[in-house]
């Protein structure tokens, strides 16, 4: 009998107990589980990966700035989480379908989401911006954990279609406490569907430390459901690529779901409305800032002779263009047409709502006639 009497003594708070391929200084280290999956990742590819991480970083900073300047109602910064986001998305096929939470900027960069589509939702103009079927990324989910079941259902669909895609559910450490995330593991394991769970454990769920959600490392949960898991350094993009390749391959090859816990850190506030100084120490933030995922891969690229000023300048120029486009999308945005509130509630006519819309249109017309007070 398997011994389940004495659970592993590992702690959720031990952020060094992770698989990695680049150490804190950006030196390549060996990991026998991950090495095979990183063998073909060469400098040219890593430069592209770095470009997406850099763009995410800049995009994120622009989001914060736009919010501060009053153009966005809110922004959920992703600073510090670029490696897990960009790395896992890079490891996927283009038609693998990703189900993100609200913070996965990096995966959207990889999938080519347009500048305006990063801001229109936070600007308050739309609930969802891009067409999910164009980029194979669902629109960000706000209800914590709900998307995990959507990914599993999508994967049930892949299984039925005989498709060779995988579905990916992204969520945070806090989300692992929700019933839905647990039910998602149960359905996924029961049907053996091609889904990968990616938990970005950024140590905090707003003000709650991960230890409140879990005493043990979150990756330890999956095996109990029959799902293999890996705890990976979420600030090591090479490890994230390799781990996700393993996980996606596992799922794609018909062996059922796989689970990654990427140990990372939310360097910024939860959102621009949050004040993290109320609940965490500056020391902790400084400690993690020193483990910046961009700096790490930059060092590695430099050690390979694949990072120079010219490259840096191209990146900056690209990012400048991108963030300028974000800015002009919101700065120039006009007020939406009032009757749009009624659009697309239903796919087919609904007599009750159609009547409300008609009444409201007449009511609004009344104003143009000068009837309003």
């Amino acid at each position: 009998m398997t011994d389940t009497l004495t659970p592993a003594a590992a702690l959720a708070s031990d952020t060094e107990d992770v698989a990695r391929l680049l150490d804190h200084e950006g030196c390549r280290v060996r990991d026998e589980r991950l090495d095979p999956w990183a063998a073909d990742v060469d400098a040219p590819m890593l430069r592209q990966v770095y470009r997406d991480m850099f763009l995410s970083r800049r995009l994120d900073a622009e989001g914060v700035a736009l919010q501060r300047q009053g153009h966005l109602g809110l922004w959920a910064p992703a600073q510090g989480q670029e490696a897990v986001q960009v790395g896992t998305a890079w490891a996927c096929h283009d038609d693998d379908f990703l189900f993100p939470s609200y913070r996965e900027i990096g995966i959207e960069v990889v999938r080519g989401v347009q500048p305006k589509d990063f801001v229109m939702v936070w600007h308050g103009a739309q609930h969802a911006s891009w067409n999910p079927f164009d980029v194979h990324v669902a629109n960000p989910q706000i209800i914590i954990g709900a998307q995990s079941l959507h990914a599993v259902g999508y994967a049930m669909g892949i299984q039925r279609d005989g498709g060779d895609q995988v579905a990916v559910a992204y969520f945070g450490d806090g989300a692992t406490s929700q019933g839905d995330v647990n039910e998602a593991m149960i359905f996924a394991a029961s049907y053996g569907v091609p889904v990968v769970f990616v938990c970005s454990n950024n140590q905090w769920a707003i003000s709650e430390p991960v230890q409140l959600q879990s005493r043990t490392p979150i990756s330890h949960r999956a095996p109990g459901f029959g799902i293999p898991s890996l705890r990976v350094d979420g600030n090591d993009v090479l490890a994230c690529i390799a781990a996700m390749r393993w996980a996606a391959d596992h799922a794609r090859s018909g062996r059922g779901p796989a689970y990654l816990e990427a140990v990372t850190y939310r360097v910024g506030p939860h959102t621009t409305s949050d004040d993290p100084t109320r609940y965490r120490d500056a020391d902790e933030v400084a400690h993690w800032k020193a483990r910046d995922p961009l700096a790490r891969v930059e060092s590695y690229l430099r050690s390979l002779g694949a990072f120079d000023d010219a490259f840096a300048q191209t990146l900056t120029a690209d990012a400048d263009r991108f963030t300028a486009a974000m800015r002009s999308a919101v700065v120039g945005a006009g007020a939406p047409e009032p009757l749009r509130v009624f659009d697309q509630v239903y796919a087919e006519p609904h007599s009750g709502l159609d009547e409300q819309r008609a009444r409201f249109a007449v009511y609004l017309d009344g104003f143009s006639g000068g009837a309003a007070r």
């Binding site: 609930h127 669902a138 259902g153 049930m156 359905f187 239903y346 796919a347």
Partner: protein, 336 residues
């Protein structure tokens, strides 16, 4: 036309949908090998296989949440919730996802999910097995809500619900599962009355009785009894609760000037409140008396031996009819 029970008519509708469109699938607890605790999916798994008629783990949020994902992939899931009282664990997925995804995505993501719910009381069941949660869904924008009252509607409307690109919460009165009626299995659903329309199931001149589900039968019984006393009741089966077909209801009320709405569900903020508020707005000057509600009490569904005192029966309907007619009802008025 074939005579069959409502249960069999529902099975036939799903069989037809499964045969016509291989993107349709049925999912729920115990619906495969067992054919569902009410046997409404009986035989479907052996005919269409376990990939299309899917027994799920025991978790309603999981069932509806995965149905959402399947819809993302282009499927049209038909979900069975085992009993009315077990839909609440799925409430978040229904209200925040199923109902809102089409709006959220400006129509890009369709949610053609049918959520079938064996529904309501009168069958002597245990707690949580006799509830009438329809108002929760009627109050939720983005959902369509229907309730069937006879085998033909069960067949036609279930096919229409499955065919709809909108999510439909589909209420099946369990006390009518064994009720029989003629069903035309071959008629084109495009020729049938749209799912959103109400139906006058009995014409009358004195009072309009508005209802839906199994309560239609009770209302028709009341109409028969009233006839003996020379009172003519018009009975309307709403069929659709969101939207409500106010055209049909208002036309009737304008003729009769009197209205009684009856349902099993609780009274406060129920469907009856909605119908009365809307009808009062639309037909105020035609009303001869205040519209009345005859509903379940505002109590949790009581133990089986007490349900007869909770369910609005023929006598309670007739009492309200007397009151809207201004006749002495034998029951003195209580004022608040």
């Amino acid at each position: 036309m074939t005579e069959m029970t409502m249960g069999k008519a529902l099975t036939a509708a799903m069989r037809r949908a499964l045969a016509d469109d291989d993107k349709t699938l049925v999912m729920g607890e115990d619906i495969g090998r067992l054919g569902g605790v009410f046997r409404i999916t009986d035989g479907l798994q052996s005919e269409f296989g376990p990939r299309r008629v899917v027994d799920t783990p025991l978790a309603e949020s999981g069932i509806v949440g995965t149905a959402v994902g399947l819809a993302f992939r282009g499927f049209r899931p038909i979900v069975e919730i085992q009993f009315d009282g077990f839909v609440y664990p799925a409430f978040d997925q229904i209200v925040s996802q199923v109902a809102k995804l089409h709006y959220r995505t400006q129509g890009r993501v369709k949610m053609p999910i049918t959520i079938r719910i064996p529904w309501a009381g009168g069958v002597g069941a245990a707690e949580h097995h006799s509830e009438s949660p329809e108002a929760y869904f009627v109050h939720t924008a983005g959902l369509r809500v229907v309730a069937v009252s006879n085998p033909q509607d069960a067949y036609t409307m279930l096919r229409q619900a499955i065919a709809s690109d909108d999510p439909v919460v589909f209420f099946e009165p369990k006390r009518l599962y064994h009720a029989k009626g003629e069903v035309d299995l071959d008629a084109d659903i495009a020729d049938a009355a749209p799912m959103g329309l109400a139906r006058v199931v009995r014409e009358g001149t004195d009072v309009t009785v508005v209802t839906y589900g199994a309560q239609v039968t009770t209302a028709l019984d009341a109409a028969l009894a009233a006839e003996d006393e020379g009172i003519s009741l018009e009975v309307i089966d709403l069929r659709s609760l969101s939207p409500v077909d106010y055209g049909t209801v208002a036309a009737s009320v304008r003729r009769t000037g009197r209205v009684v709405v009856t349902h099993e569900a609780a009274r406060e903020a129920g469907v009856g409140a909605e119908v009365i508020a809307s009808i009062t707005e639309k037909c105020f000057h035609y009303l001869e008396a205040p519209p009345l509600r005859v509903t379940g009490h505002d109590i949790p569904y009581p133990p089986a031996k007490l349900e007869q005192h909770h369910l609005p029966d023929l006598d309670r309907i007739l009492d309200a009819v007397d009151r809207v007619l201004g006749r002495p009802s034998g029951v003195p008025e209580v004022t608040a």
